[in-house]
Symmetry: C2
DNA sequence: CGGGATCCCGTAGGATACTG
DNA sequence: CAGTATCCTACGGGATCCCG
């Protein structure tokens, strides 16, 4: 499946190793973690409080995966009580920018999507009552 | 959680209605459907054949969702055998471009991520055998 | 051909409890 | 504080069969 990019349209490279990346970063929490770490280095508990609704389990899992992918670093201080700092790597920062551009698109069009959704649902409903 | 965009880093707008969009388009098949439709209008069966591994069920639900969101149009011809054409809307084309930029980033860095992963796993393994 | 209806399963991810 | 360990459920998504 080779894409012959039509004029004016950027193709999604469909060798699609890119999907693997999306599988990793497209989950429920990764982008939000990356977003808040884009601001500054944070500790575990700070992340937990900044990211609304995340469980400590999912925060741990998400952080481990992103660390494994080289997106962020984990720095542990052997003190009591324990302290761990998380920060984006250079790779993570480029990811933030790339994803940010997409999320900006999403923000810009979410309203338009809502309208399309309402219109679709209204039409579907009016057709349902004909039965 | 308001983001004060640090210098040089594009923030992910964390009002994060954008997550809803990602929830929709970040699933297993949506981007691939959008990608192949970026080339040209296609019929159901053509889509099915172009997108490797998709089941007809998932193709149907994916198409319905994207139609509902105003990303693509569904045109039915009342003939026998049935014929249905799918095409991107203008909204869908802007989505393709935004997502394409992100996927391009993913393609560009997937190798770097693989390396990070290998390094991480190797280190984790060497630490495991110390126990 | 282009689906809808069912059945079924794996897994992402939430809640809770315990630990160094 | 920053996790790890279990348990449990909802749901994404595959396989299969049927229908206009």
């Amino acid at each position: 499946m080779q894409l012959s990019t039509p004029p004016g349209l950027q193709a999604i490279p469909s060798t699609c190793r890119g999907r693997e990346v999306l599988d990793r970063v497209g989950d429920k929490w990764s982008l939000q973690v990356i977003a808040v770490l884009g601001e500054r280095t944070l500790r575990f508990g700070q992340l937990r409080r900044e990211i609304d609704g995340i469980s400590q389990r999912m925060l741990t899992v998400t952080l481990r995966n992103l660390e494994r992918d080289g997106v962020l670093t984990r720095k542990m201080y052997p003190v009591m009580p324990p302290r761990v700092d998380y920060a984006l790597t250079p790779l993570g920062k480029t990811l933030l920018e790339a994803a940010g551009a997409f999320m900006t698109w999403a923000e810009a069009h979410v309203e338009q999507i809502d309208e399309a959704r309402s219109a679709y649902d209204a039409k579907a409903e009016s057709q349902a009552e004909q039965a």
